[in-house]
Symmetry: C2
Subunit: 343 residues, 2 copies
DNA sequence: TTTTTTTATTTACGCGCGTAAAATAAATAT
DNA sequence: ATATTTATTTTACGCGCGTAAATAAAAAAA
């Protein structure tokens, strides 16, 4: 490799002895030039350090190879993990993903979409804030940019949605708890940030009805994405005041459960499934930390792999078909019950 | 706002009745055009929906307004949190941050730096992997791109380093534990991924020596960034086998401590500071989850605000001075002891 | 070998903007 | 009012590449 720096494709083309447009074709698809030409280019690429200017490329291409990935809250390891997998798959497919977090704020979600527009992405994978999303804004965005929603569905928005089947989560946990001798109460935020929470409450009510058990929904106060603290405070209020309606609590999600476990520990309430324990606690999501809580958390796990791979595949299909799908696609994946110490 | 779409600055300039270069100047700095001209432009901006093409801008500017933020592991809420603050500050200063996670892999860290090069960033905030970083690669990168290291220092690399003072962390926790009646053992990974870990061990040994106490370092096996599981396995081995050298354990970082607490719970070892407890546990970092462990974790907190603001300020200063600082700057911030239930 | 078809390469133009240098207008001094 | 200085604006050029249309080369058919 020569130390000489090549400033543009023209210069590189001169060095190879081929016209610049042919070099350009090579970079867009090495198979679209003659093998002998390809060889010459790749030999030169070994000798000289040249890379096309990404800004010039993106300015001239009708569509970039950029993909936007937007999650509502990146400090939540659940989203960090799914973002990691999505990034990986985009890179493997030759795209350039950019990761953004709305940090739970509508204004930021809107700003991210605006700035995404300016990088003319081929497509966007969006996990919206949900209830507090600016639906008009997202709708306008989706009209211009091929977008697949994931994690949290907003009816009618985007070309499709890929997520987990909330009923599958709740039905398994409710069935497990009741089969093993408990009548679960449902512990949730009164004003959940995420639409999945509502679906989970509905699923709980439906399952309890189906099993002929009396449902008890414990709705706690709190706003925002600081779920652990909200869960802890809510649990302290509930546990300090009256007795729980039953000796088993099913949390809407793991982060609330983490807060609940923290409150139980503070109050000396022993959680677990053996006889010495006061209550059982189960939850949903299989949060990365749920196996390290004390006790470890019985929960229902997302099928990360399926959700992420299907989301990416759907987006690629959407991009290849010019940004339009025949009809909005929805795909839900079932959960898997993970039995641990808490229930 | 008219529905008409404006495709370029030329067209917009025509609509305003001013030449394009003047419009260009306005977008780079509204104060550099005559007030009357500015008014005309801003009135037109209200009426028409026009935004300069970011790719064309970046292609032609000698330096972009992009800033790269690279963290070793985004699924760690600690880094997610600091990345959030850094992003915010960059945006407020008129820059466009891009967030990347090395996911604990050297190859990824290298790839991220390579792709960062291609977006010609004004500067980069890099929290390197540390021990497993490809130092040559980072060094070459830093020669071309103004870079400030944060969180984890690599001697001599980058124009500066901003982080926390590991001795401040450890001295406070060791002092606290010993003052309140315990002789802390130090719980750490034998081959820590992060250079901070080595500094913390050294600080522990120094403090114990200064206090005339006998040090005990418990070095557990394990590779990678899955610290909680490593801590849990290591703790199970230690606790199952021999007795602990003392009834108080100081963990190198909170994530290991979370694993340790999990192991203690499994084994029925009660953690806390009152008489009914078997051991006390303290740690370092004030991880976002450390207040929700059972019991809540006594730890030493980073000064997030100071570290992030100083990192960003140093980078801006570096950028403004043309990418060179007189000498490599190092700045460390002291920790703050957070007393909770575990010790 | 010559003609036709297919594939690859080159020519020519444009993308949307930054920016130095030249021209003009405004402000100040005479 | 005129000359000088200073602040703005315009002219003119270039950035590095994509791409349609024109040309040339290779492959296939006659």
């Amino acid at each position: 490799m020569t130390t000489r720096r090549i400033k543009n494709m023209d210069e590189f083309a001169g060095l190879v002895g081929i016209s610049r447009p042919t070099i350009s074709k090579y970079f867009n698809d090495p198979d679209r030039v003659r093998p002998s030409t390809r060889l010459k280019i790749e030999e030169a690429l070994e000798r000289y350090d040249y890379r096309p200017n990404i800004f010039a490329i993106n300015q001239n291409r009708r569509l970039t190879k950029n993909i936007g990935i937007v999650v509502p809250y990146l400090a939540d390891p659940f989203f960090a993990e799914i973002a990691r997998v999505l990034e990986r798959r985009c890179i493997d497919a030759g795209y350039t993903p950019s990761l953004f977090s709305s940090h739970g704020q509508q204004s930021l979600e809107n700003a991210i979409l605006d700035s995404l527009r300016s990088i003319k992405p081929a497509g966007v994978l969006l996990a919206p804030l949900g209830r507090i999303s600016d639906k008009k804004h997202i709708e306008a965005f989706c009209r211009d940019v091929p977008t697949i929603l994931f994690d949290s569905n907003i009816e009618g928005l985007g070309a499709g949605f890929v997520g987990s089947d909330n009923f599958s989560f709740v039905s398994q946990t409710v069935e497990y708890l009741s089969r093993t001798g408990s009548t679960p109460s449902f512990f949730e935020m009164k004003n959940p940030a995420n639409p999945n929470a509502n679906k989970r409450r509905e699923a709980y009510l439906k399952m309890m009805n189906r099993l002929n058990l009396e449902p008890h929904v414990i709705s706690i106060e709190g706003e925002g994405w600081n779920f652990e603290e909200i869960g802890r405070q809510g649990a302290l209020n509930v546990l300090n005041g009256k007795k729980l309606p039953s000796n088993s609590v099913l949390c809407s999600n793991d982060r609330l459960a983490i807060g609940l476990l923290s409150a139980c520990h503070e109050l000396g309430i022993k959680v677990g499934r053996d006889d010495t324990c006061h209550i059982r606690v189960a939850s949903h999501d299989d949060h990365p930390y749920s196996r390290f809580t004390c006790p470890s958390l019985t929960t229902a796990a997302h099928d990360y792999e399926s959700v992420s791979s299907h989301a990416v595949e759907t987006l690629f299909r959407l991009i290849e078909s010019g940004g339009r799908l025949d009809k909005r696609e929805e795909k839900l994946f079932a959960a898997r019950l993970i039995m641990r110490g808490s229930a």
